[in-house]
Amino acid sequence: MSLADDLYRETILDHYHNPRNNGSIDNASATVEGVNPLCGDELTLYLKLTPSGLIEDVKLTAHGCSINTASGSMMSEAILGQSVERAQKIIEDFKTMMLTKEDETVFEDELEELEALRGVKKYPVRIKCALLPWNTLLEGIETARQAQAK
């Protein structure tokens, strides 16, 4: 199997070339930066929560490879409009899928696209590219919650 028919399958390339929720939020609840120092992937994540804890808006500005950009784009679609608790569960499932050797993660229909990233596991050095947006999101949620608690 080669990248041509697997890793870069259509879904990933589509998100890479047309990343969803690309941009910034002026009055974000949290703005966090994520960096993979070894490969130079960089992204800024903007998160806006409602007082009741719904993800009202999420935006990303990414300078990374296809995996990194696509993963962030898919993530933004998966969590937009969800409750923080639900988003945390999706993050957890995604990380389990990426970090467990033979995972059995199944996403429900509207999140099915995320499974396209499972192919990245065949290239261990690039798993961190796929994880960067998700780890940054975890940090963003934490930051936003702390800000709300004040």
């Binding site: 870069y8 490969c39 992937d41 490879c65 296809s66 995996i67 690039r126 590219c129």
Partner: protein, 417 residues
């Protein structure tokens, strides 16, 4: 295909068993020698032979094996001395790698000689290994780091260098050849500037010595550091060469066995050069194999190595420059650079490129090349880098080009976002 009548690349290739490897059903095209070179079977056999025939600790035993091991280990010092045209064998110190050699100077010479307000002059194209140790030393000693200017095509601006290297300069630390641009730096001119200001110059030869005939006397430098694994030797062996007077005045860097001449309960007398700087059991097998690597290069002749690399580099730069939307970094003239070609193709991330190339059997480096400040200057995340050595052929450059076309196809090459 050969660059001169008696440089036979096909014959050389036969000495490198790894070049027969098949990756994803395709023959390996190894274009990452700037990271580490491949090893000829002569070097690999020297390691096995040592462990099968005369493995023993050095400088200790009176038995035959130890005597043989000691003689073989020490003989490599002379081989290296001759190869870099140093004056004395005792000026050759074995380390683990270039990084350790530079750290040795930073810790030992640096802490003794760099004072508050002094300046350490570097170039922006230094590898982290010739940058971070000086940055740390400067912070500790309240000294200042001063960066030289670069020209558009990645060469040192010698006009401003003459101002930046001044009476406050204590040390100039410079790479002989850039691992990103391939630029061959005017080390001798910089050494003269340093010495005019009573400063010392350390040269990072990691990228230079595998490819260029090198004489530390001609370079007029004070310290010269390099690694054997980039010049056909095994990993785990580096060399620090320094002028004897400087090395003698420096305190040991690490303490323990082998670096002592006598130990008492409360005090120790240190060994003389070069063992003063070689604490503990050294990497005997790999040092011995390193000597074989140096002999291998010597037999080919460094002039021929260089001629072959100029030919490949010129060809690669010409072919690469035909690609739409490509940016090639560093000097365009192949005689002013080594066989390292860094590039970016607009809209293709170097890591995506590296991965697809790998699936086509082509090994290149993608990333920041341990030169993060330089990447920031260039305003890029990283670059793709192909680097060439004695076993590479023009056909392999064609295979690189074919793989790049494949990558553009797979990625649906779009204009830079």
């Amino acid at each position: 295909m050969s660059s001169s009548i008696d440089f036979d690349v096909e014959k050389i290739r036969k000495d490198f068993p790894i070049l027969d490897r098949v990756i994803e059903g395709k023959r390996l095209v190894y274009l990452d020698s700037a990271a580490t070179s491949q090893k000829p079977s002569q070097v690999i056999k020297a390691i096995t032979n040592y462990y099968e025939q005369y493995n023993a600790n050095v400088h200790r035993g009176i038995h035959t094996l130890s005597e043989e091991a000691t003689a073989a280990y020490e003989a490599v010092r002379e081989t290296v001395r001759e190869f870099i045209d140093a004056r004395e064998t005792c000026e050759i110190i074995f380390t683990r790698n270039t990084t350790e050699a530079i750290n040795l100077v930073a810790y030992s010479w640096g802490k003794q000689n760099v004072l508050p307000g002094d300046e350490i002059v570097l170039s922006p194209m230094e590898h982290h290994s010739n940058l971070v140790p000086w940055q740390q030393l400067a912070a500790e000693r309240e000294a200042k780091l001063v960066y030289l200017d670069l020209t558009e095509d990645g060469q040192i601006n010698m006009e401003t260098a003459a101002q930046l290297i001044g009476p406050k300069t204590r040390l100039v630390a410079i790479t002989q050849m850039s691992n990103v641009f391939g630029t061959i730096n005017p080390v001798k001119e910089l050494a003269q500037l340093a010495h005019k200001n009573n400063a010392v110059i350390l040269v990072d030869g990691a990228q230079g010595i595998p490819h260029l005939k090198t004489s530390v006397a001609d370079l007029e430098c004070d310290f010269y550091a390099f690694s054997l694994h980039k010049m056909l030797g095994p990993t785990g062996v580096g060399i620090l060469w320094g002028k004897k007077a400087l090395l003698e005045a420096m305190p040991p860097f690490m303490f323990g066995g082998d670096m002592i001449s006598s130990v008492h309960r409360d005090k120790t007398r240190f060994n003389e050069l070069p063992w003063k700087f070689e604490a503990g059991t050294p990497n005997v097998a790999d040092v011995i194999a390193s000597g074989v690597a140096v002999d291998y290069l010597k037999n080919i002749g460094m002039d021929k190595v260089r001629a072959h690399e100029i030919e490949i580099t010129r060809y690669a730069m010409q072919k690469l420059s035909e690609i739409k939307d490509i940016v090639i970094y560093g000097p365009l003239d192949a005689t002013k650079r080594g066989g390292v070609v860094s590039f970016n193709i607009n809209g293709l991330h170097p890591h995506d490129l590296g991965q697809i190339l790998s699936d086509n059997g082509v090994a290149i480096r993608a990333g920041h090349h341990c030169c993060q400040p330089l990447m920031k200057d260039l305003k890029v995340m990283g670059t793709a880098r192909a680097s060439f050595y004695i076993y590479n052929t023009l056909e392999e450059v064609d295979m690189l080009l074919a793989a790049l076309k494949e990558a553009e196809k797979v990625m649906g090459h779009v204009a830079c976002r």
